[in-house]
């Protein structure tokens, strides 16, 4: 009881200083948590993707389409249970700032591949029956206030002109991590219009998506698909959906790396602030430490007092910082919008925040504790002035 009491009273001696230090740690730990959550969100798409799905795209790069006729051949590869396809549309809704992903999809076969997109039977039926129908994710629909029955105009960038779709359904995510910010419409509508309106050859799509019976066979099946199209005009590259998504994340790797680095910088900054606080605090108390040592308390006792005070302040700030991360993350999501689907503070992030707080406390106390433990009693007593 004695040591905690002494530490607590010491911590409260300079209330303003302690309060400022705690505040600094709160800000740092909350910022650290927010930055880590931001990085997590980037990977959320990949983490939410299924290992029982494969994505086939052009081996050259995503901008090269694959012939639609490939679907037949892919379906014949053993182990594949279903094949669908999707094509990036890249339309603009009102203006460029309202970016969201849009895909032209192979109707029922595509929806069957994604059981995590939960759509009522009635809405599914209505979508499949309407050639110009479309469905949108809940988050996306909420963002723009769309309701079933609304008309959604998109200005094409790859496919010129204005395209108007009838919103026939709004899907929910089966799990919280499921992305519900995407817009889907019928590939057939896109393909036929492209052929008629622009006289382009058509019958191309960006990617094929396959579901497989057994996730362990993913590598073998991928090779089998790619072998089918080897030395053809459009060679393919097949990988699991997760690898495909991670490929996108990898493109932003430099930025992600910078954010991660910066999240540690804030810890170092606050470490310097806290170390300064503890250094000043310990310096002011040298006489007391010397007195304690004269009375027979050991060097380690004095060091312990400083460590406990420092770690105590840091953990207090850390816990408050963790608590603050949640409302901050909410504010962040509200301002940035629906793009980052998986913006949730994970348990791992919280654990890292707490660990960071402990590290701050220990590191800040190290030098002052070492000095206080080492100071000769006679010198410490003389420091009275």
């Amino acid at each position: 009881m004695f040591i905690p009491l002494l530490v607590l009273r010491n911590a409260l001696r300079h209330k303003l200083r302690t309060a400022l230090t705690v505040l600094g740690i709160v800000v740092a730990i909350a910022a650290f948590g927010l930055l880590r959550t931001l990085v997590d969100a980037w990977y959320a798409g990949a983490n939410a993707s299924s290992s029982a799905r494969l994505v086939t795209r052009s081996a050259v790069s995503l901008v090269f389409p694959l012939p639609l006729s490939y679907a037949q051949k892919i379906r014949q590869v053993s182990g594949i249970t279903n094949v669908g396809w999707a094509n990036w549309f890249g339309g603009v809704y009102i203006n460029e700032r309202n970016f969201f992903p849009q895909f032209a999809i192979s109707g029922a076969s595509y929806l069957d591949l994604y059981p995590e997109f939960v759509l009522s039977d009635a809405e599914r039926k209505a979508f499949l029956a309407d050639r110009t129908g479309a469905i949108a994710g809940r988050k996306l629909a909420d963002k723009f206030g769309w309701k079933v029955g609304d008309q959604v105009p998109l200005r094409g960038t790859i496919y010129p002109g204005t395209w108007t779709f009838n919103l026939r359904g709004i899907y929910d995510g089966a799990e919280p991590a499921t992305d519900t910010s995407t817009f889907f419409f019928h590939y057939d509508y896109l393909n036929e219009t492209v052929k008629q309106r622009y006289g382009r050859p058509g019958d191309n799509t960006g990617v094929f998506v396959e579901s497989i019976a057994n996730p362990e066979d993913a590598a073998g099946i991928s090779q089998a698909i790619d072998a089918t199209f080897k030395n053809s005009l459009a060679e393919t590259l097949t990988e699991t959906e997760k690898a495909f998504q991670l490929g996108f994340v990898a493109m932003s790797e430099a930025i992600l790396g910078a954010i991660q680095a910066v999240s540690y910088v804030v810890i170092v900054i606050i470490m310097a602030v806290m170390a300064n606080t503890m250094a000043m605090t310990a310096r002011e108390r040298y006489t007391e430490y010397a007195t304690l040592k004269a009375l027979g308390f050991g060097n380690s006792f004095v060091a312990l007092l400083i460590f406990l005070e420092s770690v105590g302040i840091a953990i207090t700030g850390g816990l408050l910082g963790i608590a603050l991360t949640f409302p901050l993350a909410q504010v962040f999501v509200d301002t940035i919008g629906s793009l980052l689907s998986g913006f949730r503070v994970s348990q791992q992030t919280m654990a890292m925040q707490l660990a960071a707080a402990v590290v701050i406390g220990v590191a800040a106390a190290a030098v002052p504790a070492w000095r206080a433990a080492r100071v000769r009693i006679v010198d410490g007593l003389r420091a009275i002035g």
């Binding site: 303003l16 200083r17 600094g24 901008v63 010129p160 910088v265 900054i269 310097a272 602030v273 300064n276």
Partner: protein, 388 residues
């Protein structure tokens, strides 16, 4: 009467550990702040300098980027017939019809694939980009499967050294040269013969048409002519503006995120400065009493402590800038999410960033020092002296 600066400076330097820690915290904040601005500036500079003043880029209306654009031969022919296109000394018209596609290549650093721009050009295309010069090997020969690669490609991607071959579009392309485009976006591209590219990729349409204006003042007229022609659905932009727009989203993302982070971080540093200054005031209470008794005014005391805090900020600012300026040696390569292509750019320190960073550091010092300085100035002489 003001308290001499030398006295204030000695106070800052006397407490070495505290000064180092406080200024160090601010230095880190300034370092992050400056680095982020340098990154955004580097990106902007790279893309802006990619464009030439009197060059014009034509893409399909609404397509935003060259990769998404498509201009068929008949449309290109209409553009070619414009009378405003500049003519080179040898009588060739300075217009280049270029196919632009993306291929994925593995990065040297991570082995992971990233998208790289492949551009088909003609001799006129080279004339339109005088900043480009070969640094290794030779120019590709027209009509062959030879390509030249930009400097950033050669350093950033595997399999892109001289005499190596790249396989794409069912062909092997031999790398015969490396070019330096003077820190512009072209450094992150691979160039080959335009017609060969069209054949290999089985394209019938170009992606963009670039030409030089004979009279730069005629831009608006040319733009009006092309954009109102009912046979065309095209968009006409000055090359400089075209590339500037391509950097907009990424540089805004970098600077918004970076400034936000810096501001949050600065709270920590300001708190550090405030703690230090409060301690400085507390430990020198007797001294403040003495100075006041000697006839220094409250204003002089306030000023002295504010200057002390500003000095701390200045030390932090200079240290942070020194660290950030070392970042200039670094090149960042990432995907520009507007064009979906890899772009390499460096941290660029501009006078504006130096000024902004120092102002930021001084502001942190000022905010951190203001309340403690006020406390010092408000002390009663007798109370202060008694504490001595």
């Amino acid at each position: 009467m003001a308290i001499p600066l030398g006295y204030i400076a000695r106070n800052v330097l006397a407490r070495r550990l505290t000064t180092a820690l406080t200024a160090g915290g601010m230095a880190l904040v300034v370092y992050v702040f400056a680095s982020v601005l340098m990154l955004a500036a580097g990106l902007r500079q790279t893309l802006v300098s990619t464009g030439q003043d009197d060059n014009v880029v034509v893409i399909r209306r609404g397509s935003q980027t060259e990769v998404q654009s498509g201009i068929d031969r008949s449309q290109a022919g209409i553009i070619e017939s414009l009378p405003d296109i500049a003519v080179a000394a040898d009588g060739r018209r300075l217009i280049s019809k270029e196919p632009v596609v993306l291929i994925s290549l593995p990065k040297r650093s991570t082995g992971k694939p990233a998208n790289v721009v492949i551009r088909g050009i003609t001799t006129a295309g080279l004339d339109l980009r005088p900043q480009v010069r070969l640094v290794e090997g030779r120019m590709f020969r027209p009509g062959t499967s030879e390509v030249i690669v930009g400097r950033s490609i050669a350093t950033g991607f595997s399999g892109t050294d001289l005499d190596e071959t790249l396989r794409f579009a069912s062909r092997d392309w031999i790398i015969v040269g490396v070019f330096d485009a003077g820190h512009t976006g072209f450094d992150s591209e691979i160039w080959g013969d335009a017609e060969q590219m069209l054949q290999a990729f089985r394209r019938t349409a170009f992606s963009s048409v670039i030409f030089k204006l004979a009279d730069p003042g005629r831009f608006d007229a040319v733009k009006a002519t092309l954009e109102t022609d009912p046979r065309l659905t095209l968009e006409v932009k000055r090359e400089k503006q075209f590339y500037a727009e391509q950097s907009e989203a990424l540089s805004r993302f970098i600077s918004t995120l970076g400034t936000g982070i810096s501001i949050i971080f600065s709270i920590g540093a300001v708190i550090g400065a405030a703690i230090t200054m409060y301690a400085s005031v507390a430990s020198r209470t007797g001294e403040i009493g003495t100075l006041r008794a000697l006839g220094f005014s409250r204003r002089a005391i306030l000023l002295a402590f504010l200057v002390e805090a500003l000095l701390l900020g200045l030390i932090g600012g200079i240290a942070g800038l020194a660290g950030a300026s070392a970042m200039q040696a670094l090149t960042i390569s990432t995907t520009n999410f507007q064009t979906f292509a890899e772009i390499a750019f460096s941290f660029t320190l501009t006078p504006g960033i130096v000024a902004a960073s120092l102002a930021f550091a001084l502001t942190m010092g000022f905010i951190g020092g203001f309340l403690p300085a006020l406390r010092a100035a408000r002390m009663k002489i007798v109370d202060a002296l008694r504490a001595a």
